[in-house]
């Protein structure tokens, strides 16, 4: 076994000139790695924040999640901006009572806010939502065409348009903020356990096993993509890039398959007898603390009042 001559030489690549002045545009590999990173960071973040002490952290998770989901549903029934704002205020107050710094919360909310605003903004104009004009932006005698686009005679901000844009923005960010109340005050593992509580037998176990494997697979994704990145010297053509990604997805599927086979065998070895069920404890009134009871009563009153108001 002798090392070939070419391998004994120096690579001959001159690195004296090579520095990266500007960060290059991120390619498909970097984007995937960024997804993986932000996934992991999100979970880490939720884990850290949910470990804090506060009102919502102290409530029995099943009661908490159920009531907050009911809040989201009642919120979806609100027909006035005032009704929606009440939910936003409640949500923000619960946030601060649960020891979650407002700035941190707003930072999490910012991308959703920006995205929704960009989407909702055009709705303020007469060409989307027609109605009583608030402010005229453009007026001519008749609609005319510029190329294939028809320009209407009047473009204005309309009252109805502005109302509907604001309604959408507030409703979306309030819903998301309530959802954040769930994820930021419940440790991720506990959260999944709680969700599965409300599911029928077999589904329980599928969901909890699936959740655990997500983490395993995400770590694999990181490795598999780094494997390509470390071997990427020059840019390859798009079809080759597609083949590379597809091979990773295919490999991930075969890994998943192998894992599920292992799990089947493990279940057999443990004598599961194919009845693969996770037992969850029953809802028992005596398990609930005084705080839980107060929370339930207050939530029912609040949701009830808001429901009644929205139906008026």
């Amino acid at each position: 076994m002798e090392i070939p001559e070419w391998l004994k030489k120096q690579s001959g690549v001159d690195s004296r000139q090579s520095t990266v002045i500007k960060r290059p545009k991120e390619n498909f590999l970097d984007k995937t790695l960024r997804h993986v990173l932000s996934f992991t960071e999100d979970i880490m973040f939720n884990e850290t924040v949910s470990a804090k002490r506060g009102i919502l952290q102290g409530i029995e998770p099943r009661l908490k999640i159920l009531s907050l989901i009911i809040f989201i549903i009642v919120l979806s029934l609100q027909r006035s901006i005032a009704g929606i704002l009440i939910f936003l205020i409640v949500s923000l107050s619960l946030m601060s009572l649960s020891g979650i710094p407002l700035t941190l919360f707003l930072k999490r909310l910012l991308p959703v806010f920006l995205f929704t605003t960009i989407i909702a903004f055009p709705a303020s104009f007469s060409f989307i939502v027609n109605g009583d004009p608030l402010l005229f932006l453009y007026r001519s005698d008749a609609p005319h065409n510029v190329g294939p686009i028809e320009i209407p005679a009047v473009i204005s901000l309309t009252r109805q348009g502005v109302f509907s844009a604001l309604t959408l923005i507030f409703r979306v960010i309030t819903s998301v903020s309530i959802l954040f109340l769930i994820t930021l005050t419940t440790p991720p593992n506990r959260l999944i356990k709680t969700i599965t509580y409300f599911m029928p037998g077999t589904l329980k176990s599928i969901v909890s096993v699936s959740y655990r494997y997500i983490f395993f697979l995400v770590q694999k994704v990181e490795q598999l993509i780094m494997g390509i990145k470390s071997r990427s010297i020059s840019a390859v053509s798009v079809p080759v890039q597609q083949r590379l990604v597809a091979s990773r997805i295919g490999l991930l599927f075969s890994l998943s398959l192998r894992l599920s086979n292992d799990l089947e065998r493990a279940m057999e070895a443990r004598g599961y007898n194919y009845k693969f069920e996770v037992k969850s404890s029953k809802f028992k009134v005596k398990d609930f603390s005084g705080a839980d009871t107060i929370w339930v009563i207050v939530s029912i009153i609040f949701a009830g009042v808001m429901l009644w108001k929205s139906l008026e």
Binding site: S76, T116, A120, F163, R171, I249, G250, L259
Partner: protein, 233 residues
């Protein structure tokens, strides 16, 4: 393409919940009939897999990138009913545990992606490849040879994702028609069908549909080579 909370009104999301629940029940029955109980871990893995597949960025010519949902691919690999349940679970976990996609809209998202998309894509695949499935999982035999499988899978994947997108666009687009305030102002998504359909469909027809098709075909090619026991031409 997951619809968040706030875009759909109660009548819309409520009826989609009403549509999805019997489908889930029926799917579970179907799975119990066709799948051995011992294959339940496969369902869990498939769901984790469909969650993670969306993390892969796939390039398309012209410098843009996107991701695939894998719905037709998974349907081909483990059967449409199992795929529907697996994808639904992934969507539910995504919505509740990761805040991606709304809670009230879970019914809508599962209906569009995990049912309509899966069955649309899988149906087209079956139609083109002309093969009679043995008990899923996995492709066996086939009359038209492997190429008709691949072509069918590609077209199926393309159409499947566009069906999901079209349904999403329609659901959003009918909001100003059915949910308005006293003065006629929309209470949920304010855009009419004439805007939601082109806005959502252009990207899907031109980019995401192609990504879906390319990924489905290339992954099947890879799996046919690496797991010949799963896919035979």
């Amino acid at each position: 393409m997951h619809i968040p909370d706030g875009y759909l009104g109660p009548i819309t999301y409520g009826s989609l919940w009403a549509a999805i629940i019997p489908l889930w029940v029926y799917a579970s029955k179907k799975i119990k009939e066709t799948m051995k109980a011992s294959r339940i871990p496969l369902l869990a893995m498939a769901s984790a897999f469909s969650f993670v597949i969306m993390m892969f960025n796939v390039p398309v010519p012209g410098g843009t990138t996107g991701h695939a949902t894998g719905s037709t691919l998974i349907a081909i690999l483990i059967g449409p009913w199992a795929a529907s349940i697996a994808l639904s679970i992934a969507l539910i976990i995504q919505a509740i545990a990761f805040g991606d996609g709304g809670i009230t809209a879970i019914g809508a998202n599962c209906f569009n992606i995990a049912f309509a998309g899966v069955f649309g894509g899988y149906g087209i695949y079956r139609l083109i490849s002309g093969f009679n499935p043995p008990s899923p999982p996995f492709i066996k035999g086939g009359q038209g040879g492997i190429n008709s499988h691949l072509i069918g899978a590609g077209i199926g994947a393309y159409i499947g994702i566009n069906i999901s997108a079209l349904l999403t666009a329609i659901e959003l687009g009918i909001q100003p028609l059915i949910h308005t305030g006293a003065d006629g102002s929309p209470l949920y998504s304010p855009f009419p069908l004439s805007i939601t359909i082109p806005a959502i469909m252009i990207g899907n027809l031109l980019i995401f549909g192609i990504i879906e098709a390319v990924v489905t075909i290339l992954v099947l090619i890879y799996l046919r080579k690496s797991h010949p026991e799963l896919i035979r031409g």
